[in-house]
Symmetry: C2
């Protein structure tokens, strides 16, 4: 699936503007710390969350000139979580480059993540320069803080699930609702808050963003199973090797025959598992029908999310259409 | 040196009130995450930074009922840095208990630190419930954010210095000014900001807090060399074993004879160094006169800091006296 042209063009503008804001915010001494902090950001990424911020702001009439600072805040925050996540998962590659701790060591990588966390707040504070009210800025900060605590809870669940064999699909949904959808929600809400959207509008947007965030993570889990290395930017099957309880793994384990269960559990979460063994696990999971299930599950969340989006009353209807297109695009990425 | 009675009594009140605030803020699911996050906080600590906040607030007439939320914010923030610091330094004990990553593993410890970081902002946002203006809350948040970035820079310098042999005393001062004095400054300023102190007052208080923070870290470095295990709450000589470039090490290396230099460099930063070897390094450092030097250096910072404090115009002069007493106490801890 391709991005519609008007959205693709805006995505480019937002991506480069956000990057410029981030470059300005994340600079200083010592050089090693700032290089480590900028490393994944320089490597690129989809810069999807900044686009969520900007489109939500645009729906209520706020310009990119201003909303790009909030876009920078969530993108910086997202990269903070990636830096720490990679240490936790002992991942060595992301976005096609070595991870921060692989290059600068674990100690500096932890601090680089912490610095980015602080810088995400600094980005929101920049909105003061544009005459935004203190009240709106406090609301945006409150939302970022909510996301930070929520994402931490989600990450913790993700870690705890790897050592449990009885995780249910509904526990999984609860986990990704926090780990992934938390920042989707805050991206959209921060964009809308700084543009002055009412509480009523925020409630609908929150539902939209959470549903799309969950669908996004389900797709991400699918990609981890079926996409090639180049698309992933990291070694194939790392989720399986790390014993991640993705929705596909959970569904497969529930439905597996004894033989299939043995195949999966024999390699899942075993760091010494060979590529062939993991390939066989992936094949088994697909055979059980996990991909059909996860597809349907994702589609259901997308449907609900778009429905909530269309209950809003935006000033700029084109922005809402673009937000819808973006939601479809990120949750129906091809593989 | 003992705390004067009126200060000791307030310190107890502030400590228990801050703890209650923190317990309320840092609670939720999953339980393991919140237990890990509360672990060091439950273990105690001096709770010195909350007292800085409360006294600075009291200087300008703000009650403990309100300032205790800001006190909770800086104490939570401080504990976040400790959790991450212990992972970075691979320390196994603190405050007489095993460190967070020793009990819950590194992945959960990283997330616990991140959660505490978020919760420190949440604590400041609680001030909204007491009718404080959005403007003051934004100023307090800006100050906490400044501290977060500054402490990260200081931590990074601390890490980078361990692998450098040519660190100067003035580079050391620059490092501790960020790593330790950064949060001293923000504790005092946040207390004063929420109480409505003027920019003029804040500038003097900042100077006071930074000077005292530097002196505090110099004392801390001294304690690491000469205090016993019980006072430290962790194994003796861990700074030496980790190769930390404390002011004592730096001074000693500058003045050491060839033989003394050999003794120091042979064990400094070598994880396999025996207790006896490190004991000999410590003895050598003291023989060179490093302790006399660091004592004089600390006293100079204390003098300058107290001078700045007495340029302020507080409403509550007793609070200022207590702040002075506290500054003397924490920078002249006996050993």
């Amino acid at each position: 699936m391709e991005l519609p042209e008007r959205l693709a063009s805006l995505a480019n503008t937002v991506s480069s503007m956000t990057y410029r804001r981030i470059e300005e915010l994340v600079s200083g001494h010592p050089r090693e710390l700032y290089d480590a902090s900028m490393h994944l950001i320089r490597a690129g990424g989809k810069r999807l969350r900044p686009l969520l911020v900007v489109l939500a702001s645009k729906m209520y009439g706020l310009s990119l000139e201003i909303s790009s600072w909030a876009a920078a805040a969530v993108e910086i925050f997202h990269n903070f979580t990636l830096v720490h996540d990679d240490i936790m998962d002992r991942d060595e590659f992301r976005r096609g480059v070595p991870t921060v701790h692989k290059i600068w060591g674990e100690a500096l990588a932890i601090v680089a993540g912490d610095l980015l966390f602080a810088k995400s707040y600094e980005a929101l504070l920049r909105l003061l320069d544009y005459g935004l009210s203190y009240e709106r800025i406090v609301s945006a900060i409150r939302e970022l803080t909510w996301a930070a605590a929520t994402v931490a809870e989600g990450q913790a669940l993700d870690v705890l699930f790897t050592s449990r064999d009885n995780v249910t699909v509904s526990e999984y949904i609860e986990m990704v609702k926090k780990k992934t959808a938390g920042l989707f929600r805050s991206s959209v809400l921060i964009g809308a808050i700084i543009a002055g959207a009412s509480d009523d509008e925020l409630a609908k947007l929150a539902e939209f963003a959470i549903d799309i965030g969950i669908a996004f993570q389900i797709r991400d889990d699918e990609l981890g199973l079926v996409a090639d290395e180049k698309t992933l930017g990291k070694p194939k099957y790392s989720d399986l090797r790390e014993g991640k309880k993705t929705v596909l793994v959970l569904y497969a384990l529930e439905r597996a025959s004894e033989e299939q269960r043995r195949i999966i559990l024999n390699s899942l979460g075993r760091s010494s598992a060979t590529r062939d063994e993991l390939e066989r696990v992936a094949k088994t999971i697909v055979e059980i029908g996990a991909l059909d299930f996860s597809n349907k599950l994702a589609e259901e969340f997308i449907r609900k999310g778009i429905e909530a989006l269309y209950l809003t009353n935006p000033r700029d209807h084109e922005a809402r259409e673009m937000l819808r297109d973006l939601a479809y695009y990120v949750t129906r990425r091809s593989y």
